[in-house]
């Protein structure tokens, strides 16, 4: 049954291939000529779509890579008579190398700055090709012969269209596979919540860099075909207008959908030709790049009216035909344009929660090989301090955590508990002090480094991956326990690994009692269940140190009991659990040791029965909130 699903997923590509093969037979030469350009730019747009939709980065200078590919190919062929295939390969490699060199510094920039830096790159490339002799200055490089394979010359629009067809179909297929692969899953998670993805071990920078390089490769290959087809490469190939055109193709088609890129490129190329003919007729005397007016207007209209692009439109139409309402654009995916890494707004209040987490079977989820010997030191915090200007949020905290214990971190609001979690998990760099996870110093390192050592966390303000399902959320946590990279992902070679990921993700979901919701979109779940998704996700990493920030908030009584039982089992497996919790009754019953923070200091640390009667603790809680009552009640019980 699985292979049937696989076949079905390839069906659209077979249909596309068939349509492209038939097209030159039925269309006029003029139309086929337009089609050739649509395929050339479409190939580049597929790469840009990966960069924008998947890696969440915008390049305003993508024509730079297109031009590098075109020029490299043209130079190798006309000057050095290199074999066509070799020249094409070299052109792609050079484009990717340049992307690597500029990507390493540029991808550390965010938002506006990266976009403008790529724009700068585009302009530098176009200045350089105008100035250098090897690129032929402003006139460019002439006389590139049409490609010839086995004596067949691809010199008519029809022939060239057929030459490009397999390249585009395969390019699209590889891109689609990448979106569905481990890499795609991780990057989609980054678009929803960068911090949560990193805390699950996703190295955002490295993945983005790979997609950036890949997208440059697509653009470079498109440049190769461009050089062949025009037989001339001039500085126009690096022009800003071409970058805008590619961007429009991706935005019009719908970000995050590779099919959108190819659809968008066909529409934009049609628009381009149409405006070129139409505008001079409407406005006599109009010359030059007047079709730009169409690009600009369409770009603005799409953003305002249809931010999900044609993919959103298609999803709406399909839904209308099926007679049900679409709540979100693009078949349930939120448009990357709208996601800014902010936590998904969950429906408040877990109404009608059913029962406790079902029979938790953690054997599959927690991997004993990853868990250190019970009682060994897994986390050691020394003199941990965080200052913001004049305010000290955390002051000289010392804490050791051992495998197979549950340590509760409690304290009034603003005591610095979450700040401690943020520093331990790598989300915040401490001002001072050291953090060792299994003997490795991690203070100030990125969260994915800490996660790679087997420490992960949940978030007080939920950080679920809103655009994917419960299962999809949990599957991201297997990132570190799987290895297929970009190439295997594109070739779809990781089927067995994917099956393992799904099996363990399902086990973790079931352990949290979420089996019935496994295939629902996580953002459609009530608040309490989203919280449980986060715990399931953290468990699925097979952690040896689990940091839970208020895991019980929003859960019903029976659910709390269920979670407590699950945490005890997790402890039995040898995992160290640290939890920040406001429910003092639950904490005292569950924890082996309790650490109390107040105003940034650790004021007490020990067994619950000892801490409960500590005068400093009682004083700290007095008059703050209802935790004080709970604690006093506990103390009273002890006394009487």
């Amino acid at each position: 049954m699985r292979s049937e699903g696989v076949l079905r997923s390839y069906l659209p590509f077979a249909v596309l291939a068939a349509v492209l093969v038939v097209f030159p037979f039925v269309a006029s030469t003029n139309l086929v000529n337009i089609g050739v350009f649509a395929l050339i730019y479409g190939l580049a747009a597929i790469g840009l779509s990966l960069l924008m939709g998947l890696a969440g980065q915008v390049s305003l200078g993508h024509a730079a890579f297109f031009a590098v590919g075109a020029y490299t190919n043209a130079i190798l062929i006309t000057r050095y008579q290199v074999h066509g295939v070799l020249a094409a390969g070299a052109a792609v490699v050079v484009s990717m190398l340049i992307a690597l060199l500029v990507g390493i510094p540029l991808l550390r920039l965010r938002g506006h700055f990266l976009a403008l830096a790529t724009l700068g790159l585009g302009i530098i490339v176009s200045v350089v090709v105008r100035e250098l002799d090897v690129t032929g200055g402003t006139s460019g490089i002439f006389g590139i012969p049409k490609p010839e394979i086995n004596g067949r010359v691809y010199d008519t629009p029809q022939e060239f269209f057929w030459l490009m067809t397999p390249v585009v179909v395969i390019g699209l297929l590889l891109a689609r596979n990448l979106v569905r692969s481990r890499t795609g899953r991780a990057l989609s998670a980054v678009n929803d919540s960068e911090v949560a993805a990193e805390c699950l071990g996703v190295n955002t920078f490295a993945l983005r860099l790979r997609v950036f390089i890949l997208s440059a490769g697509y653009a470079g290959l498109a440049g190769v075909f461009y050089a062949y087809w025009l037989a001339v490469v001039s500085p126009e190939a690096s022009g800003f207008q071409l970058s805008v055109k590619m961007l429009l193709m991706v935005v019009l088609g719908g970000l995050g959908t590779v099919w959108g890129a190819i659809t968008g490129s066909i529409m934009v190329q049609g628009l381009d030709e149409g405006m070129r003919v139409l505008i001079p007729q409407l406005i006599p005397g109009a010359t030059g790049e007047v079709q730009l007016v169409g690009f600009g207007v369409v770009l603005v209209l799409v953003i305002i009216l249809l931010p999900g692009g044609l993919a959103q439109l298609a999803a709406m139409v399909t839904a209308r035909l099926r007679g049900r309402q679409v709540e979100r654009p693009a078949a349930g995916r939120s448009s990357p344009l709208e996601s800014d890494g902010a936590p998904a707004a969950g429906g408040q209040g877990g109404h009608g929660e059913d029962g406790e987490p079902g029979s938790p079977y953690l054997g599959d989820v927690l991997d004993s090989a990853q868990i250190p010997e019970r009682g060994s030191l897994v986390l050691s915090v020394r003199e941990l301090t965080k200052r913001y200007g004049g305010v000290t949020a955390v002051r000289e905290v010392n804490l050791d955590v051992y495998a197979g214990e549950i340590l509760a971190l409690i304290g009034p609001n603003g005591a610095g508990k979450t700040t401690c979690f943020n520093m331990i998990s790598g989300v915040l760099a401490p001002t001072d002090g050291t953090i060792e996870v299994r003997g490795r110093r991690v203070e100030g390192r990125r969260p994915h480094v800490v996660a790679a050592l087997g420490a992960t966390r949940t978030f007080q303000n939920l950080q679920v991956f809103g655009s994917s399902t419960v299962l999809g959320n949990v599957a991201v946590a297997r990132h570190l326990r799987s290895r297929s990279g970009v190439v295997r992902g594109m070739l779809s070679l990781a089927r067995r690994e994917e099956r393992d990921i799904e099996r363990i993700a399902r086990a973790a979901v079931a352990a949290m009692g979420l089996a019935d919701d496994a295939d629902r979109l996580v953002k459609d779940l009530p608040f309490g269940r989203q919280r449980k998704v986060e715990v399931a996700r953290a468990l699925a990493l097979s952690p040896m140190l689990l940091l839970l920030d208020e895991p019980m908030a929003g859960l019903s009584g029976p659910e709390r009991d269920g979670l407590a039982a699950l945490l005890r089992r997790t402890r039995e497996a040898g995992v160290a659990v640290v939890l920040v919790e406001h429910d003092v009754d639950a904490v005292m019953a569950l924890a082996d040791r309790v650490a109390v923070m107040d105003e940034g200091r650790l004021i007490a640390l020990g067994a619950p029965s000892v801490v409960r009667q500590d005068p400093a603790v009682i004083a700290a809680y007095l008059g703050t909130d209802d935790e004080a009552d709970a604690l006093l009640r506990q103390a009273a019980k002890e006394v009487y």
Partner: protein
Amino acid sequence: MSDLLQLVFSGLAQGAVYGLIALGFVAIFAVREIVNLAQGEYAALAGLSAISAVTAGVPLLPAVVLVVPMVVMVAVLIERLCIAPIRKMTPLLSIILTLGISTALKAIMLLIWGPQARGLPAFPGRDIVLAGVSIRSQELWILGISAVVGAAVVWAYEHTLLGKAMRACAEQPVAARLVGISPRMATMIAFGVAGFVGAVAGLVGSPIYFSSWDYGLGLGLKGFVAATLGGLVSLRVALFGGLLLGVLENLVAGYIDTGYRDAVAFLVLLLVLLVRPQGLVLKASAARV
């Protein structure tokens, strides 16, 4: 020596135009965190409109005075039509959107005015030679008007209640509302200010640097680079960044090769972004403006 002085001086004049454009970027970014890629288009639009007016027989001064409010209105109108309807603005969204606006404006200017670059007649005055440096009167106009307009905008943003409230909109929308400024209103005013400085830049520069439909792209990008020197939030650094960039470009064009002139700005941009993305002068957490 006089070569150097000559290059520096004409660079300063060019840089003042960049500085005004940079001011426009900051005027919006400090309020709404949008990089308005259509900033340069305001300058091209102002220059071309004034040239048409002068060609039609309107004297220079009234033409200039009429064009400025017109461009301000265009900027505000575009904000109302294209920026205001977006409920949740992200960096990616704002870049694509303003890129679309910029592209459409460019094409409309191409349709109306055609591809030729033209210049306004020079403002009244005589060219002079001072210490071997020939100074065009228009360059003095550029420097003088830029200084006045720049100082006025900086003063308005730093010292008036309205300006302070507008800047507060980016961080403290509630406090800004308390003194009667809604973020919507602040964004609209900011676009008006951007249109104003853009129009002034386009008008004073037109007699020397000419105006054309595609003049705005390069100008806008250079203004952006200058604004980046101040981390996109400092008006003063943006102004001086523009001057610095103008001089640097002229030196490269004079001593190395005119062809590389346009690459200078982007090398500076890449360097600044890599070394100090928060800007050259400000500390990461220092106060804005």
